[in-house]
Symmetry: C2
Subunit: 521 residues, 2 copies
Amino acid sequence: MELTLPPGRSDAQFQAALRAFEGVVGAEWVFDTDLDRTTYSDIYAVGPETAHPPSAAVAPASVEEVQAIVRLANQHRIPLWPISRGKNLGYGTAAPRLAGSVVLDLGRMRRILEVNPDLGYCVVEPGVSYFDLYEHIQANQIPLMLSVPGNAWGSVLGNALERGIGYTPMGNHTRQLCGMEVVMPDGDLVRTGMGAMDGNHAWHCFPYAFGPGLDQLFCQSNLGIVTKAGLWLMPEAETQLALSMQASEEDDIAWIVDTIAPLKRAGVISQNQFVSSWLGRLVLMGQRSDFYDGPGAIPEPRVRELLRQHDLGFWYVNIRLYGDDRITRAQADVIKEAFARHTRSTFVEEPWRKGDPFLAVDPSFGAPSAVPLAMGAWTGGRGAHLGFSPVVPPTSAHVMRQFRRSRQRIAEHDLDFYASFTIGDRHANNMNMLMFDRDDPAQIAKVRRAFDALIADAREAGYGEYRTHLDWMDPVARTFDYNDHAQMRLFERIKDALDPNGIVAPGKQGVWPAAYREHRA
Amino acid sequence: MELTLPPGRSDAQFQAALRAFEGVVGAEWVFDTDLDRTTYSDIYAVGPETAHPPSAAVAPASVEEVQAIVRLANQHRIPLWPISRGKNLGYGTAAPRLAGSVVLDLGRMRRILEVNPDLGYCVVEPGVSYFDLYEHIQANQIPLMLSVPGNAWGSVLGNALERGIGYTPMGNHTRQLCGMEVVMPDGDLVRTGMGAMDGNHAWHCFPYAFGPGLDQLFCQSNLGIVTKAGLWLMPEAETQLALSMQASEEDDIAWIVDTIAPLKRAGVISQNQFVSSWLGRLVLMGQRSDFYDGPGAIPEPRVRELLRQHDLGFWYVNIRLYGDDRITRAQADVIKEAFARHTRSTFVEEPWRKGDPFLAVDPSFGAPSAVPLAMGAWTGGRGAHLGFSPVVPPTSAHVMRQFRRSRQRIAEHDLDFYASFTIGDRHANNMNMLMFDRDDPAQIAKVRRAFDALIADAREAGYGEYRTHLDWMDPVARTFDYNDHAQMRLFERIKDALDPNGIVAPGKQGVWPAAYREHRA
């Protein structure tokens, strides 16, 4: 990819900055060839990856090097785009929001600083992947369990900071963050919460401490660069019990949500409860062309035929219970009673006991895997996906409003429908996966039009996205419009106070520093 | 109490400000007589209440009135000290940190805006007390349960914002906050999280939304004035099961913590688990003079005698399980097994079923009460208390270090010892109550010396307080010293950006705006 300079910088100024960065990290950790720029571009770009071109990348190995780079970026007026491992698939991967930013690649900072079995937390640097952490825990026989997302070679810390989710009782990953170390945009180093006291023993035990709480201020944020953080992990359960069931009709999601959500609030179901539509299972069985050959969405009659052939319902529910089996059996009884009020189908029950085989296919099992990414191959070609992810209250009324509207809109755009609801205590993440072939411009154009429409629809109906791709950060941010975008005014007032040169991740989540505000879409 | 003017204001300027406030709220809601000032002073002051004198109070009835007062306070350079109901007993009650501040009394804003039985949350204004909310829930037969602190006539919202605690599964009150409306120091009005989208249905369902998370930024904070917020409530359980036990020796707290904390992390015990020392029970049986007549701490031999006479152990454990009784019975079995590894004592089991009598004495029951405040009468005279509240990791090693040191220090100062540990998932709040007669200067002097020593000891050992009285906000803030107080530098940088005139709660939690920074102790 050809060089796009940082805004307002001449080639000489840019080169001077890179040489200064090399003085910190060594020439081998500054990447500025055409191939390097391609490497740090969005491999799931919804269109040409040149829409968000990095100018270069720099990879520090320590907190001190991050501080030094940040100070130099201020001097040289170079915007930085921090990434952990750059695997934010569907949201921009490693690419920066602002063209010409230098990617600050934290992937070399890969230390697992602590895994505390007595208190149930780990402390990791941004470069630690789920696989890294899992291997460390297995190798040291630590009785703790991970909560993993679909893509386990991504960063543990990056996922939590971006509010990614998993499917265990700790599946709301951002809620498990506790105690951070953050390089501020001026190079200062802050530790949050109890860690603001040097040597405090409860840094990763209690996120609130004394005075305002800062951890969430640094999530989906360009107010600082998180260089380490604590994340809570759950104790490994000696036994687990999975209860799975299919529901044949699309409207079944109404009673499924009304049954699961109260059980979650009562603590009977503790996991972040994933309920997926049929396509989530079909993508694991083959590619689209194995099931249907036409260019547009698989037609309804063919869908019905496929479901019959492959013995699939419209929805798949897989509840996993963790812990002492006296308790999980009692919980299972309560769950079965609740479901029996709505269906004659019964659960398939699968007990698991420590020592039993590893369940790679099930993300609620707690082991890292990349199986769900099989959907990348669905369309053929250079397959990619884009996730439309509004948050809705977990009641049938809200879920059906959201589901029917999105389903209709996606059908109108002649795209395959793949939805899931991940039910938390008081919210559900409705993920609508739009899969496309990056080499098919017509398909990409459809996906983009559908995505624009889905955002506008959701805003109109009163639902917001919790996360989005680089291309839609400004449009989604604009949907947060209360009192003429008062929250954004506040974000940008804080941003300008902490980052007067606007060098940390300008434009992230629609938050623009004064220096680059004219780049807002 | 005589008038203390706001810093740098003449009497004429101050009177002009009050007249301007009267233009907003009416003359009857501006309070500036000597009696008014006494009313808004610290009724639990650790010494003369004149240490933190308010100049006046103003009581707006609506968000718009709060905004108008804030704008006038900027024009007139009058520092405001917002209170909800002013019942922050032991931490300063209604009194301001900075002498001469005008108390902004939000007690008239007392609307319960929503109680959502389907989703399990309420939305309240600052003036709503636990009694108000409980009565509303009872009158409307809403199947939700409260989590209450010891003092239930305090504010639901104020308690959560100040990180107060209760003893149910929702007992970490600040963690239940979800979605706020905040008047900024310049009078702007922000809604946080999903509420930043006008009309969003998930405002009080999901606290993270799109971009940085702000709710905790406004807790123990002077960065804005929270005028309403959502708070999660748990579903009412049809049945409860209480398991109570006494442990005779002071060192028993070691195995108690090591037994309870893993059960909490595994989800077997869901409540915020209160474990109290004997004095917590004795204060409910009478006053100090009923048990001992000397001036200093009750001597050890007399303590032992009292415990025998009243059939008390050193520690009292009361575990309450909530929900379907098949599950709670299984949980009870697991808990009993775990305790049986350490003690031959057995639990007293008390099942409760909806319709059974109300349990006022037990704060884990979920009904508001002021029974624990009986300790106010312990010393006789104008009784008061001060809480020293470090947070420790819930392991025997940390708990014993903290417990032995505080116990010794409190004994050295010849004060009665009353400690509790409230065990959360990964932390414990160690509350040490120092009770005193406000009319006994010698006792007050001892309490103050003990408190100074306790803070210094805890800092030395690596533990921090999560909350403190006005008098110690600066000293406790100073213990958060990592990187030359980097977190405080950040707090004050944000403070100055959002509140250039420094009018909202200057000095709160040690955070001083530029305008008043010379008042730091």
